[in-house]
């Protein structure tokens, strides 16, 4: 139902009554807003790293499946991993996931503002343990896998 109402300035306005009250004025944002600025694009690229995380989990599950199926199936799967398209996808994934890891580790100092003796502890000192844990985890996994 439409109704004419008079606002404070005395102008006539056409008011439409809807079931829910209007949520106020909202600027329409383009679907491609994240292409406009490098910082926005970086945000979307970081978010998209999650797709490659999922891809690598699937690849790992396929590898476990081949491991269950026996040595022959496992060899076949190694052949699949040597496919240039798969290698290219894995190299792209590697850079995306490095991007995820670095942005993730660097978040810690932003989330924790630690003060010692009235001074804020430098960001690098809070991020550093993350990098140390990363190095340690990589060395342990590398050692376990490569000694075989």
């Amino acid at each position: 139902m439409d109704q004419i109402s008079i606002n404070a300035v005395g102008r006539k306005e056409l008011t439409t009554y809807t079931e829910y009250p209007p949520k106020g004025y909202r600027v329409r944002i383009s679907t491609y807003w994240w292409l406009g600025r490098w910082a926005y694009l970086k945000f979307i690229l970081r978010e998209l790293s999650s797709v490659l995380v999922a891809w690598f989990v699937i690849e790992t599950l396929l590898q476990v499946n081949a491991l269950i199926a026996g040595p022959g199936a496992y060899q076949d799967f190694q052949g699949f991993l040597r496919n240039p398209v798969v290698i290219a996808l894995n190299i792209i994934s590697f850079f995306f996931i490095l991007f995820h890891a670095i942005t993730w580790f660097n978040l810690a100092p932003k989330a924790m503002a630690i003060r010692l003796g009235g001074k804020r502890v430098p960001a690098i000192l809070i991020a550093l343990p993350n990098y140390a844990a990363w190095l340690l985890a990589s060395v342990i996994v590398g050692w376990l896998v490569l000694r075989g």
Partner: protein, 117 residues
């Protein structure tokens, strides 16, 4: 009774999965996805890899390695679609696809890990 939001749990899974993905996927991906296929390093034998995977620690490791990063993907990808494409009207479909996908992945991972001989 007010309906409790699942958001804190989903965010926690996203966050823990993000840590697991950041700490462990780079080395796995570098070794199994790049260095071994390209012959930069000698790949472990079938028996050596099976020996690593079949122990209790190996099985738990594989479950953590697969399941938590899947929930990380689900949450982050959901919001990528939400913020990036502004497809609010498809919210339910997107949520079902993302969290449903992660749940299916978790079931498949558990099934496979239990079946390691």
């Amino acid at each position: 009774m007010t309906k409790r939001s699942n958001e804190p749990l989903l965010w926690l899974l996203f966050s823990v999965g993000g840590v697991v993905a950041a700490l462990l996927i780079p080395v796995h991906l570098f070794l199994f996805g790049i260095a071994f296929p390209l012959g930069w390093l000698n790949a472990p034998s079938y028996d050596a890899l099976l020996a690593l995977a079949r122990g209790p620690a190996g099985r738990v490791y594989l479950l953590v390695f697969c399941i938590l990063p899947l929930f990380h993907w689900a949450h982050r990808f959901r919001y990528t679609l939400y913020d990036g494409l502004q497809i609010k009207h498809l919210n339910e479909l997107v949520n079902t696809f993302c969290y449903g996908g992660a749940i299916v992945g978790a079931i498949v991972a558990t099934y496979l890990v239990v079946r390691i001989p």
